[in-house]
């Protein structure tokens, strides 16, 4: 690998994404080190950042490739548009957020530190105009005094009309980082389940130990790791384990885990949520490391992992120190500096200064010096060099300063120098540097263990919070548990893994924990170096130390208030690098300790998850399941227009050539039925088979009217109430045998009614011998209506079947033999008011039935009709439906009060008798027709007394259902009107504020057509 030279030609083909400038000479990797790193120098990759073409290697992240190319400035900050660079090397990155990809795949706020490099990658900086280097919005810095904490609340108060006209548009223009794609997402997302005994979260030394222990013991183990590689800090900091170099140990550990069939390793998979009962959610970035997903491959996949035990070994996050200028490009976490050098062979700076208050930061010295760069100074406020690093001072002739960094000078190109203030005498000195590595200590990653309102516990010795009461079944280990040395991580992980396996009943041996040194770790907390200039706590939301102290002075002392008032920790990084510093500064300002101040509540997701990933495949036509009627394809062939009713697609009408609009088609269909014969698929109605010795008694209790008295071979209309007395649903129910009923529901309520019936059967009346079976999908049911319905049907049934009024009267039910041998159920029921039959055949014969009705009905001009014509005919007949059964109406409101049996208890009986539900001034169903016969009635319009001024005081009801009635040749409707039945013939006002219409209408009987019901009795 070390033989690689930059002049080696690019082996890969041209970039996939088109606008990487072809032919332009890529910038050389000026900051790439010759050392080994974990990158593949034989696989160079070309990418573009802000239109400039550069190269990197397979194994790079976008951030490491930018570091290797000497790029420091990668974005502008949220409020002040200050130049910003790369701060970390992980998913906690608050600053290096870029817009990835272009067109429909453009995604803002992608962390450059987690984005793997691929050939042809296109990224752009955000929040700058016109360019990153010359950003005109950085003028915001001059107005900094108005952008202090709570500035929205303080600045945009008045005048009120300015809010919509000026403030809001201005804020919307200025706010947000980057632009999301404006085109539909072309990618697919997936959702999947996984199950295991032991879930190990994070594959650093502790996680690997835990997975090895649990895996050897025989448990089913899933090890998830958000990085593309397993190893965690071992990839960056190395060390010696079991006498081996850490990378060699890692290779062996990986080999062993892979060899265990009960262990599954999932890389690029970030755990983001912890849910009840041991369910976890993780996001797998399946194809984010390539320009676009392979054919039939998804971009991302959400895993729901059900685990009996989990071991969270999610490591720790190094925290910044808050000092003036700490946000300048080139100020980087010390651990990130080591990652870029050791893992990616990319050098963040050639003259590095180190500012650390703890021993761990000192590791950085050796990394930098071995990389051939120079450590210009180590600034440690503790006045003493840690014993174990004493040798470095001599070896590298280190300049060690006991003090703090009090300011950082530099421009868009990053850090040029720092100001160091002596801790004893307060004298300052300036040191030239191009990279300031900072370590304020390590915060164990307590988030996942706190998602169930766990309260983390403060540990003085490491000046950090550690997990408190983790959710049931979860253990924490390693750095996530506050164990910050390699040896302790290996031991802690091993014992947690072994314990979890044993709790799951594994009987195998977990083996021995690997051994490594326990490096000493001491820290003297340093949160904030007071001084002039902006000292940033939250880089992503531009929250400064003075914002925190201002919030305290203004009374926002609670951490939850602090968070909302300053927006600290509310950006996409959720304050991973800023929350603890913010509350420490608040603690100091308010004279409380850090544990007294406390943390804000931790909530999922741990890291941002795209909405698309949550949706998975459930989008567009797959948003929900689609139910097709048995005659659907037949209807489609006959040109039906379909309408969505719940999950169903139903034929709405069947347009014919030359018809100018839907109304003409629907009117034709109605007239065809009323004058001849038509048919309609009504299979969507819910159907329930009710069987058992007590079936009749059961139905008596769920319907307001009696069914035990229904004769075998008869159907009856039934109405059921909720227990509070309001109408739940209606439908016809037939008695097929002494102990066998066939119940129908409305289309919309099929599911809820089934649930209700099961509740009645299983919970309320378990003593009844009755069984329920949903049969909605088993039967194709077609309504055949019109004066010629009988003639048509006669042509289809066996000649021996008697369908005359005498042989098969109105409301009769029986089985019939169809010509060809199929047995059907025939119901003499009518929704249209015409002589009508409903015929039920097994669902698989539905399409054939429709086809045969067309053939046999040809002599009668048979016409298929849709839900619109169905609706017109039911309104003409005054039958109530969904708009009237609207969850507020009683049986009496619908004009069906007389159906309520006085002889028996039924669901809703007692509550329906309450005063307000029986009040004489209730709104009841009436017919409504405009006085002006040419006027179109619209549903939703209000009914008021004639001549009254519209308003809540004069409102007397509203129009529920309307249609154009071909029989009356005018628009008619049903409505719910106060005392409506007493007001037949009254002229009322119709007020339609939505369409600004006012006109007069007459209250009439809801039965507009054939009120005596002569036609349906045929």
């Amino acid at each position: 690998m070390s033989g690689y030279s930059q002049s080696e030609p690019l082996a890969r083909t041209a970039p996939i994404e088109a606008n990487v400038r072809k032919g332009a000479k890529p910038a050389s990797q000026s900051h790439r080190l010759p050392g080994d790193g974990i990158i593949d120098r034989r696989s160079p990759l070309q990418f573009s950042f802000d239109g400039k073409t550069m190269t990197g290697f397979a194994g790079d992240t976008l951030a490491s490739a930018l570091v290797a190319n000497g790029v420091k400035l990668v974005g502008r900050s949220f409020k002040y548009h200050r130049p910003r660079g790369i701060v970390t090397a992980g998913s906690e990155e608050p600053s290096a957020l870029v817009e990835m990809r272009t067109g429909a795949r453009r995604e803002p706020n992608t962390r450059a530190t987690t984005q793997e490099l691929y050939d042809g990658l296109i990224a752009n900086s955000q929040n700058r105009w016109p360019s990153l280097r010359r950003d005109l919005m950085s003028i915001n810095q001059l107005f900094a005094p108005i952008f202090v904490a709570g500035f929205y609340y303080k600045t945009f108060m008045w005048p009120a009309r300015f809010w919509e006209a000026i403030y809001e548009p201005m804020i919307r223009r200025a706010a947000g980082l980057g632009k999301s794609a404006e085109l539909p997402d072309p990618d697919h997302y997936d959702k999947a389940w996984a199950h295991c005994d032991v879930l190990v979260v994070g594959a650093g030394p502790a996680g690997l130990s835990a997975a090895l222990a649990a895996g050897r013991a025989g448990s089913r183990v899933i090890l998830v790791e958000e990085d593309s590689l397993i190893g965690g800090r071992l990839l960056s900091d190395g060390g010696e384990i079991d006498g081996l170099d850490a990378r060699e140990w890692l290779r062996r550990a990986t080999r062993e885990l892979v060899s265990l069939p009960n262990v599954r390793i999932m890389t690029r998979t970030a755990l983001f949520g912890v849910y009840d009962g041991g369910t976890y959610a993780a996001l797998e970035r399946v194809s984010d490391n390539v320009a676009m997903p392979d054919r039939h491959q998804v971009r991302q996949r959400i895993w729901r992992i059900v685990a009996r035990r989990s071991v969270v070994t999610a490591g720790a996050i190094e925290r910044p120190i808050v000092f003036s200028g700490n946000d300048r490009p080139g100020v980087m976490m010390a651990s990130a500096v080591r990652t870029y050098v050791n893992r990616f062979a990319a050098l963040p700076g050639k003259r590095v200064a180190l500012f650390t208050n703890n021993d761990d930061g000192w590791r950085t010295v050796e990394t930098i010096e071995r990389a051939g760069a120079h450590v210009v100074a180590v600034i440690d406020p503790r006045h003493e060099v840690p014993v174990q690093y004493q040798r470095l001072v001599d070896t590298y002739d280190l300049r060690v300063l006991a003090g703090v960094v009090s300011d950082v000078k530099g421009g868009v190109d990053g850090v040029r120098s720092i100001v160091v203030t002596n801790g004893k005498n307060g004298l300052t000195q300036r040191i030239d540097t191009d990279c300031l590595a900072v370590s304020g200590g390590w915060n164990p990653n307590v988030g996942l263990s706190c998602f169930h309102r766990g309260k983390p516990i403060w540990r003085e010795d490491i000046a950090a919070f550690v997990p408190g009461n983790a959710p049931k079944g979860m253990a924490t280990a390693g750095a996530a548990n506050g164990e910050l040395s390699l040896g302790a991580c290996l031991r802690d992980g091993h014992s947690a893994g072994a314990r979890a396996a044993a709790e799951c009943g594994a009987v195998g041996k977990p083996g021995e924990a690997s051994k490594a040194d326990d490096e000493a770790y001491s820290i003297t907390p340093l949160w904030h170096v007071k001084g002039k200039g902006k000292a940033f706590v939250d880089f992503q939301h531009d929250v400064t130390a003075s914002d925190v102290t201002l919030a305290q002075r203004e009374g926002f002392e609670s951490v939850e208030h602090l968070k909302r008032y300053t927006t600290l920790g509310m950006a996409t990084d959720q304050g991973k690098t800023s929350n603890i510093n913010g509350l420490a500064i608040m603690a100091e300002a308010s004279g409380r300790t850090i544990p007294e101040t406390g943390t804000t509540i931790y909530r999922p997701p741990y890291a941002p998850v795209a909405i698309g990933a949550f949706a998975g495949h459930h989008r567009d036509e797959n948003f929900h399941a689609t139910r097709l009627t048995p005659s659907h394809h037949w209807a489609a062939r006959h040109g039906a227009v379909f309408v969505d009713t719940g999950l169903w697609k139903r034929a709405q009408w069947y347009p014919r050539a030359g018809e100018k609009d839907w109304l003409e088609s629907v009117t034709r269909e109605v007239l065809a039925v009323r004058n001849g014969v038509g048919f309609c698929d009504v299979s969507t109605l819910g159907k329930v088979d009710v069987r058992g010795a007590d079936a009749g008694a059961f139905l008596d209790r769920v319907y307001i009217n009696a069914f035990s008295s229904l004769a075998v071979g008869k159907a009856r209309y039934g109405l059921m109430l909720r227990e509070d007395g309001i109408v739940m649903d209606d439908g016809t129910t037939s008695r097929l045998a002494e102990d066998h009923y066939f119940l129908t529901t409305t289309t919309a309520k099929a599911g809820p009614v089934m649930q209700h019936l099961e509740f009645c059967r299983q919970v309320l009346f378990p003593e009844l011998d009755v069984q329920l079976t949903s049969a909605t999908d088993q039967w194709a049911q077609l309504s055949i209506a019109g004066p010629n319905a009988r003639k048509l049907l006669q042509a289809l049934v066996d000649p021996s079947e008697d369908l005359t009024n005498e042989g098969f009267p109105f409301m009769g039910v029986r089985e019939v033999q169809l010509r060809g041998g199929v047995t059907a159920r025939l119901f003499r029921i009518s929704f249209s008011g015409e002589m009508a039959f409903e015929i039920s055949v097994p669902a698989r014969y539905g399409a054939a039935m429709a086809e045969n009705l067309m053939i046999a009905g040809k002599p009668y001009g048979v016409t298929p009709y849709g839900t619109e014509a169905l609706g017109v005919m039911r309104i003409e007949k005054g039958h109530v439906a969904g708009p009237e059964l609207n969850g507020t109406t009683t049986a009496d409101d619908l004009g069906l009060g007389k159906m309520m049996s006085k002889k028996k208890d039924f669901i809703g009986r007692v509550m329906a008798g309450r005063e307000a539900l029986t009040a004489p001034n209730r709104q009841v169903v009436v017919g409504i027709k405009p006085v002006d016969r040419a006027r179109r009635l619209r549903s939703g319009a209000h009914v008021i007394p004639k001549g009254a001024i519209p308003g809540p005081q004069t409102d007397q009801g509203y129009v529920t259902s309307v249609c154009f009635s071909p029989m009356l040749d005018q628009w008619i409707g049903l409505g719910l009107v106060e005392r409506g039945r007493e007001r037949t013939g009254e002229i009322v006002g119709i007020h339609d504020p939505l369409r600004t219409e006012d006109y007069e209408a007459e209250i009439c009987s809801p039965v507009f057509y054939d009120p005596e019901g002569v036609r349906q009795r045929g």
Binding site: E723, D724, V910, G913
Partner: protein, 102 residues
């Protein structure tokens, strides 16, 4: 979260629907049996509307609509969401009906 249906085993909670407190019992009365209508109405009012809002373990009705369509009685901790026990409602899954009083 998964819920242990006594008929189907552990299933995803999305298959289930929550109804509420299993404590209130539907009042039993005989039509024209001499009981005062006010008393009957009061009893139904309590049954339909009045619920204890427990923080802790309570018995609740759940419906396994995405599975065996059984009504279940779950003992659940409303603070931790932990299911302690799930049993079938008296008439759930019964091959033959229970007799009253059983």
């Amino acid at each position: 979260m998964r819920i242990a249906c006594p008929f189907c085993g552990e299933r995803e909670n999305g298959e289930f629907t929550y109804l509420g407190d299993a404590a209130p019992k539907r009042p039993n009365f005989v039509v024209d049996g001499g009981e005062s209508p006010e008393r009957i109405e009061d009893a139904f009012y309590d049954y339909v509307y009045l619920r204890d809002n427990l923080a802790g373990v309570m018995r609740e009705y759940w419906y396994h609509g995405g599975g065996c369509r059984s009504w279940l009685v779950a003992e659940r901790n409303t603070v931790t969401h932990e299911f302690i026990a799930v049993t079938a409602a008296p008439g759930a899954g019964a091959a033959s009906a229970m007799r009253a009083g059983e």
